[in-house]
């Protein structure tokens, strides 16, 4: 028991430290937890026990669910054409290029190279949203289009992660059938369930969501897929329900941020070997260039075809080059399943951290759209 509690004390101390640093410097706690995890993993080496893995796994599921539930369906519908074009290109270009570079330039095995492609294909909706709030862009048609496109990119990532390593056996089709039923039934049964449970002190709504996610993750894993796929899709179909119930999102997020995601990000960071990173700095730099370069190659022509001005096009491309949560989830999936080595994992996570920071800084410093850019109505160009 003493060993258990000493482990709990160490992990909670790291979580509190990350929280205090985040509060002090105004940077998201997720990024700070990753960095604190890297520092701890390379110095005090906190023990990665079964309970840490459980909390981290549930944390990544709920985080993915929240990501899926963050955009109301009206925005997706209004900008679906332009959003789909930008989102698909934003996923496919870095996925293909990073995969090819990993396999043919660095000699990674096929499956490891695919993990590199998936991990570097992502766009962080939340990072993008925070930057757009600062520029006032989040309320404009352009801002909503960018969010819809980010959403499509993330969908591409979770679908790739959910399907690429599957064997398509009978259990997989059971999972697909259950998922199809869930996406049809959940939007119908969830609102009355939430109304009936009505904020009881025991938080039955939060437990309901956790049970649905855990059940779908079980079926996904049994079917050889990955729990983030159903979590994201369930989040998507319940987005309108949850966005109409901000208090529930707040409670779910409070539970998740206090007890689950710290373990996910600290664990993800603690598995990074700085020795491996320092020995592969060239690979880190090249992967970073591959991700951002591929986003540019794919998104700049697409943006130009949609009628973006040069400034807006550069801003959109840089914003969609960011990545954080799904990148680390994909890399950790690869490590946990023995698809990538710790050295490969370390390189990918450091690249992901860089892609959360560098494109954002460049976009804010040099390409923040002007007030006149905000007025562009993409509803007439892209979607209805």
């Amino acid at each position: 028991m003493e060993q258990l509690w000493s482990g709990v004390v160490v992990w909670l101390a790291l979580a509190l430290l990350a929280s205090l640093i985040s509060w002090r410097i105004g940077i998201s706690v997720a990024l700070v937890e990753l960095v604190v995890g890297i520092a701890a993993g390379n110095t005090i080496r906190p023990q990665l026990t079964e309970w840490v893995t459980v909390l981290a796994s549930v944390g990544s599921l709920v985080l993915t669910f929240l990501a899926g539930a963050e955009l109301e369906s009206a925005v997706v519908k209004r900008f679906w054409k332009a959003g789909l074009a930008l989102g698909v290109v934003s996923f496919a270009a870095p996925f293909a290029l990073a995969w090819l570079v990993a396999q043919f330039a660095f000699g990674w095995p096929l499956r490891a190279a695919q993990i590199a492609g998936i991990a570097l294909s992502t766009t962080s909706v939340a990072v993008v949203y925070a930057v757009m709030v600062e520029t006032g862009l989040n309320e404009t048609p352009l801002g909503k289009l960018i969010l819809a496109a980010c959403f499509v990119t993330d969908l591409g990532t979770v679908i790739a992660l959910g399907l690429l390593f599957t064997n398509f056996g009978a259990a997989f089709w059971v999972f697909v059938a259950a998922l199809a039923v869930a996406v049809v039934v959940l939007p119908r049964i969830t609102p009355p369930i939430l109304r009936r449970l009505n904020s009881h002190a025991s938080e039955p709504e939060v437990r309901f969501v956790l049970l649905v996610l855990a059940g779908m993750a079980l079926l996904a894993v049994r079917g050889g897929s990955e729990g983030v796929l159903p979590a994201y899709l369930v989040g998507m179909v319940l987005a309108d329900t949850f966005l109409a119930n901000r208090e529930l999102i707040k409670r779910l997020r409070a539970t998740t941020f206090a007890l689950l995601t710290p373990f996910y990000f600290l664990k993800a960071g603690s598995l990074v070997s700085m020795k491996a990173v320092l020995g592969s700095l060239g690979m880190v730099a090249l992967f970073f260039l591959v991700k951002t370069g591929a986003k540019f190659l794919g998104l700049v022509p697409t943006g130009a075809a949609l009628g973006f001005s040069r400034r807006v096009n550069m801003y959109t491309t840089l914003m969609m080059s960011t990545g954080l949560t799904f990148g680390t989830i994909s890399a950790l999936y690869g490590l946990n399943h023995g698809i990538i080595t710790q050295q490969q994992y370390s390189v990918l996570v450091v690249v992901i951290i860089l892609t959360a920071i560098v494109p954002t800084l460049i976009a804010q410093t040099f390409f923040a759209p002007r007030a006149t850019d905000h007025a562009i109505d993409f509803g007439t160009k892209g979607g209805k």
Binding site: S22, I25, G26, I27, S28, V29, A30, L31, L63, L66, A67, E70, L71, S124, V125, A126, V127, Y129, A130, V133, E134, T135, G136, R246, I249, K250, R253, F257, T261, L324, T325, A356, I357, T360, Q364, A371
Partner: protein, 146 residues
């Protein structure tokens, strides 16, 4: 002399001194936008995290800037209040450009050299990048303004 002034306000001693200076400068002149900027997390994990930070900052600043604007109006100044979100320096500069301000006024409290190096100072950024004149009202050790 100045027709459109932006007062950056966050309720500190420096801000309160800046509010008094604004009343003196703007009385009988142009209009004043009292702006408070709430911080939101950079590189956020979820959209709801950003939304919640906005809500909290909004609750913290809404009344504060309204009271500051009311104080200016009581002094005969045409003033309105606004709360926005992001990095204070960037948001102040953006609003100043958007309203065509010809003066930005802000208060500042002396920071240690280390803090200024590490975190930067809003006043430094605004002075560096503003398109118009900037008045920095500084709280001194004797608690007066310079």
């Amino acid at each position: 002399m100045f027709s459109r002034i932006l007062l950056a306000y966050e309720g500190s001693d420096g801000s309160k001194l800046a509010l008094r200076r604004t009343a003196e400068i703007a009385r009988g002149a142009g209009e004043v936008l009292v702006l408070a900027v709430g911080r939101i997390p950079e590189y956020a994990e979820t959209v709801s995290e950003v939304e919640e930070a906005k809500d909290q900052a909004g609750r913290h600043y809404d009344r504060m800037v309204e009271e500051a604007a009311a104080e200016l109006r009581a002094a005969g100044v045409d003033a309105r209040a606004h709360v926005d979100f992001g990095k204070p320096g960037d948001v102040i500069i953006r609003h100043a450009e958007e309203i065509g301000a010809d003066l930005i006024i802000l208060g500042t409290t002396p920071h240690s050299v280390l803090k200024r190096r590490v975190l930067g100072a809003t006043a430094d950024k605004v002075v560096d990048r503003a398109h118009c004149s900037v008045l920095v009202v500084r709280v001194t050790e004797t608690h007066g303004s310079t």
